[in-house]
């Protein structure tokens, strides 16, 4: 009888270990969960979006103050920002998993309090796919209905967006300004990858790093066909010295994205195909003019 108990106990232990969930996060840390998490706190907007896109929005119990999509997460308790999370507020929510960016702070404190932490921060299209897969595994969502389905939708969305670009607009030279430093999005950035996918060219070479602070005369010399502004606050770029003569500005081929659109464009997350579609809408609206 005692032997039987020992064998059964051993079997149970083996079974529970087999069920244990394990991933390696972007810090290189092995994250192990004994069972699928039911109370998740997300400290990074694209991770919040990812959880919801995987159909698991109901498992979120708290988010950071910058998570604003989908709309239902706005009613959840906010626990500070990624860089200044309130450890106390997070602990009070009794989470069994905290998702955060690698740049977020507080991982060590949370782990010391026994709360599992996974840090994921995608920087490219491939990273987004990898992030989807790992969050899917952590949440124990079957890949076919979870990560793979979401990625297939993204791929389909990107392909559709690319097809929607008429041949005469393919190969246009784009300058995407993230910020009025001016900081441009280069070929090496996530945004640059989307532009390439759409069959467009980027005037900022990848060798300068993903988001270089440019000399304004670099843009004047490059004379792009089209300008996209990640932030509509800088719509007064005509007034910049020497910029009035730019081909794109003369032809009014300038798109300034509103803040909500900007969120979609600059977040490397599950809405990346939507971001590509926003760019195409802009191209079609402004590009068809003579």
């Amino acid at each position: 009888m005692r032997h039987l108990c020992a064998v059964l106990g051993g079997l149970l232990l083996w079974a529970s270990q087999a069920q244990a969930i394990q991933i390696t996060d972007d810090r290189g840390v092995q994250v192990t969960l004994a069972r699928p998490p039911q109370r998740i706190v997300s400290l990074f907007p694209s991770l919040t979006e990812t959880v919801c896109q995987l159909g698991q929005c109901q498992r979120l119990v708290g988010v950071d103050r910058y998570s604003n999509f989908p709309a239902r997460v706005r009613s959840l308790p906010q626990v500070g920002g990624g860089l200044d999370p309130s450890i106390e507020a997070i602990v009070a929510l009794r989470p069994d998993l905290v998702l955060m960016a690698t740049s977020s702070r507080g991982a060590a404190q949370l782990q010391a309090l026994g709360i599992p932490v996974a840090a994921l921060q995608p920087r490219s299209h491939a990273d987004v796919r990898h992030m989807l897969e790992r969050v899917g595994r952590l949440l124990d969502v079957p890949p076919e209905t979870g990560a793979r389905r979401v990625w297939r939708d993204i791929e389909a969305g990107l392909a559709a967006a690319s097809q929607a670009v008429p041949p005469e607009l393919k190969g246009l030279r784009i300058y995407f300004e993230v910020n009025s430093g001016p900081y441009g999005a280069s070929e090496a950035s996530f945004i640059g990858e989307t532009l390439r996918r759409l069959g467009l060219r980027n005037v900022v070479p990848g060798a300068l790093g993903p988001y270089p602070k440019l000399n304004p005369e670099f843009v004047v010399r490059a004379d792009p066909d089209f300008i996209m502004l990640g932030d509509s606050r800088y719509a007064d770029m005509v007034r910049r010295p020497g910029w009035g003569g730019l081909r794109a500005i003369r032809a009014q081929r300038v798109c300034a994205f509103a803040p909500q659109q900007s969120d979609v464009l600059v977040r490397a997350g599950p809405r990346l195909a939507e971001g590509a579609q926003l760019m195409v809408q802009c191209l079609l609206a402004k590009g068809r003019q003579p």
């Binding site: 920002g81 304004p216 004047v220 932030d231 007064d236 020497g242 509103a258």
Partner: protein, 341 residues
């Protein structure tokens, strides 16, 4: 008497050297662009290149000089007025006021997409206008809290308090609207990238009268260096002149900050660099500090866009490295000679 003559000669020589440097740097600045150093002659045939030189490079190079001159002038006045070698142009709170102005303008402009009523006048004002308004408002707040300019210590303390409080409000704004963070950071590090001819004209129009007023009232600074009581006993109308100098200080700083952002160290280092070469009256110190500030910022700006072209380094970082390094070297050398204990 001979010592005075010697110092006067040194001051004159410094003035000549700085003027020559200005000319050389202006030419150099016009030749450094997004492809690194390219000689002006080489550009002769290229219409676009000339347009770039004329519309972007020349005004920004000259603008860097003008902003540096305004800061150097303001620094010399601040150090004389407060009789404190650590005083700098931002002492009356204008830096944090300007940063807060820019932060609020950015937030309002972002919200402006949703509420178009705010946007037009704010767009008209621009970030430059917002920075100017913020800087001037901060100085006015400091003056109100210090109940005028009569008490140096009270003014100094009020300036520090206003600087800290407005700085905290700016940080709070940045925290609540993280999308403005990078732009604000760029403003805090300073840049001459978007200085055009109109900005140059504006800065020149402020610099000239400021220089004249500061120079005309500089003997009050000489008097103050002997102590407030002595200055008053010399029969100087200290209160009125001090008020005028505070106005010059605030106006010069606000104008420079609005056009080029919070470029640090120029205002602090320029007067010291001048004094290291020549111990002279405040009249000459003010003029030479202006020249020195202009040269310092113009050199830093040229390097900032030349070193990593077509990328740019924040110019404020370079002014600190250049000015600070040179000042340290001077102190080291003169310490060895025993003049600077």
């Amino acid at each position: 008497m001979t010592e005075t003559t010697r110092q006067q000669r040194r001051a004159l020589a410094l003035g000549v050297v700085l003027s020559l440097l200005t000319t050389v740097l202006l030419l150099l600045g016009a030749s450094v662009g997004s492809t690194g150093l390219e000689s002006l002659r080489q550009l002769g045939s290229d219409a676009l290149a000339w347009q770039i030189v004329w519309e972007i490079r020349l005004p920004r190079t000259l603008g860097a000089w003008l902003a540096g001159a305004l800061l150097g002038l303001a620094g010399a006045i601040a150090q004389g007025l407060f009789r404190n070698p650590l005083a700098d142009p931002y002492l009356l709170g204008s830096a944090s006021g300007a940063a807060l102005g820019v932060a609020l303008a950015l937030v309002l402009l972002g919200a402006g997409a949703a509420a178009p009523a705010v946007a037009p006048w704010l767009l008209q004002l621009g970030l430059t206008g917002a920075a100017f308004v913020g800087a001037v408002a901060a100085v006015l707040l400091t003056l109100t809290l210090a109940r005028g300019v009569q008490h140096t210590l009270r003014l100094l303390l009020a300036g520090v308090v206003v600087g800290v409080v407005l700085g905290a409000l700016g940080s709070l704004t940045m925290q609540l609207a993280p999308e403005v963070m990078q732009t604000l950071q760029a403003f805090i590090l300073g840049s001459t990238g978007f200085v055009g001819w109109s900005a140059c004209a504006l800065m020149a129009a402020v610099l000239l009268p400021c220089l004249v007023v500061a120079w005309a009232y500089s003997h009050v600074l000489d008097g103050l260096s002997l102590g407030e009581a002595t200055a008053a006993s010399l029969g100087l109308p200290v209160a009125a002149m001090r008020a005028a100098l505070v106005v010059v200080l605030a106006l010069a700083t606000a104008t420079a900050v609005a056009q080029t952002g919070l470029i640090g160290f120029v205002g602090l280092a320029a007067p010291h660099l001048v004094r290291a070469v020549s111990k002279t009256t405040h009249g000459r110190l003010i003029l030479l500090s202006s020249l020195m500030g202009g040269v310092l910022l113009m050199a830093a700006d040229t390097l900032a866009r030349g070193l990593l072209a077509p990328q740019e380094l924040p110019v404020g970082v370079l002014t600190a490295v250049l000015g600070g390094g040179y000042l340290l070297w001077l102190m080291h050398r003169q310490g060895q000679r025993g003049r600077w204990s």
